[in-house]
């Protein structure tokens, strides 16, 4: 019965809402990625080489991104150093 479906349907999230939520996150991410300058991967490699001279790190531990905040471009470097043994 349509009435019953309607009442029950309120409880679970509609798939269109799910689609919108997923796209909102994905598009925001892809837009910043698409805007990133071409030199970023190369710069990342070179920074990694310098760091590797002093500390032993995993290649995947360096995250690098360029974001815009309040009209400023922010270069963000994120590196997890290994625990001392």
């Amino acid at each position: 019965m349509a009435l019953l479906d309607y009442l029950l349907g309120q409880r679970k999230k509609k798939s269109a809402n799910l689609a919108k939520d997923r796209l909102q996150i994905l598009l925001a991410h892809e837009r910043t990625e698409a805007k990133a300058p071409d030199y970023l991967p190369k710069m990342r490699d070179e920074i990694l080489q310098v760091i590797a001279k002093y500390v032993e790190i995993d290649q995947d531990q360096l995250k690098i991104s360029i974001d815009e905040e309040n009209g400023f471009e922010v270069l963000e470097l994120n590196l997890v150093l290994p625990e001392d043994k």
């Binding site: 349509a2 009435l3 509609k14 798939s15 269109a16 919108k20 796209l23 598009l27 892809e30 837009r31």
Partner: protein, 271 residues
């Protein structure tokens, strides 16, 4: 003054060629001189949708490579005055088009007094799609209310904003319009399909019109007649609205809601 319009989407199969055919036909019906160019070299289809597949002698690549004149290659539509079709090549590989060659053809069309030059883009974001959008003044982004189509449209919008001639030269940006096709209002109401507001929100782009999912679109392509010429269909009405809005008329959006059912029907009826 001529305007170059690219019809693009990123994703394939969303209705670019159907939209190109109907919009160019409707623009010509409004008294404009219109050329519609198929950029999908190797996989041409516009000729078939427009019903001129047996009249193609020379194509876009022939003109670009100097093997035929533009006049020889333009196919004059027999139904609508002022409408001309330039078919893509079916045999050449897709590197046959060059930026300089495309520019030459577009400049020649402008000099010939064409009011609108419609570039029907191939799917994807490769060279063919980039050439189709490079010279655009306006873009019609065809999108289905579906996740992968919306994502690809967002990608193509990024390319328009970065790699079109207007972007590269720092001129006014390409004017972007959204055409939402295969729209099914009852599924939107049921929460099973992204609504037009959702898509506008996600892409931050102005809605030119919604084309409802319609049997008539397949019937039209079966018979090689742009769907806009079938006056009785919702899709034709939708495309006419779209072109009138494009030309600056204020028209309320239609086909956004399903046909009303009675109250009892709603409560107890079948879905």
């Amino acid at each position: 003054m001529s305007r170059v319009i690219v019809v693009t989407s990123g994703k394939g199969g969303v209705g670019k060629t159907t939209t190109s055919a109907s919009i160019s036909t409707a623009l010509a019906l409004k008294g404009n001189k219109v050329a519609v160019i198929d950029f999908d070299v190797g996989l041409r289809n516009l000729d078939l949708i427009m019903g001129v597949e047996r009249r193609v002698v020379y194509d876009f690549v022939n003109v670009v490579q100097g093997e035929a004149t533009l006049k020889q290659a333009l196919i004059k539509d027999k139904r609508v005055e002022g409408l001309y079709i330039l078919a893509a090549s079916q045999t050449r590989d897709k590197d046959a088009l060059t930026l300089e060659g495309v520019e030459k053809v577009i400049e020649e069309l402008k000099a010939d007094g064409f009011d609108y030059i419609i570039c029907d883009s191939p799917a994807g974001i490769e060279k063919g799609a980039q050439l189709a959008l490079y010279f655009a003044d306006e873009a019609i982004v065809v999108t289905n209310p579906e996740v992968s189509s919306v994502r690809d449209s967002d990608r193509i919008l990024g390319i328009l904003q970065a790699k079109s001639r207007r972007a590269e030269k720092g001129e006014d940006p390409v004017v972007e319009h959204l055409v939402l096709t295969r729209y099914n209002p009852s599924r939107v109401n049921a929460g099973e399909m992204l609504s037009h507001d959702d898509v506008i929100d996600l892409l931050s782009i102005k809605l030119l019109g919604v084309v409802p999912e319609s049997q008539e679109v397949l019937n039209a392509s079966n018979s090689g007649e742009p769907v806009v010429l079938n006056d009785n269909s919702d899709a034709a009405q939708a495309y006419l609205d779209i072109v009138e809005r494009f030309l600056g008329e204020e028209k309320e959006h239609r086909f956004l809601t399903e046909e009303k059912k009675g109250f009892l029907n709603k409560l107890f009826g079948k879905k």
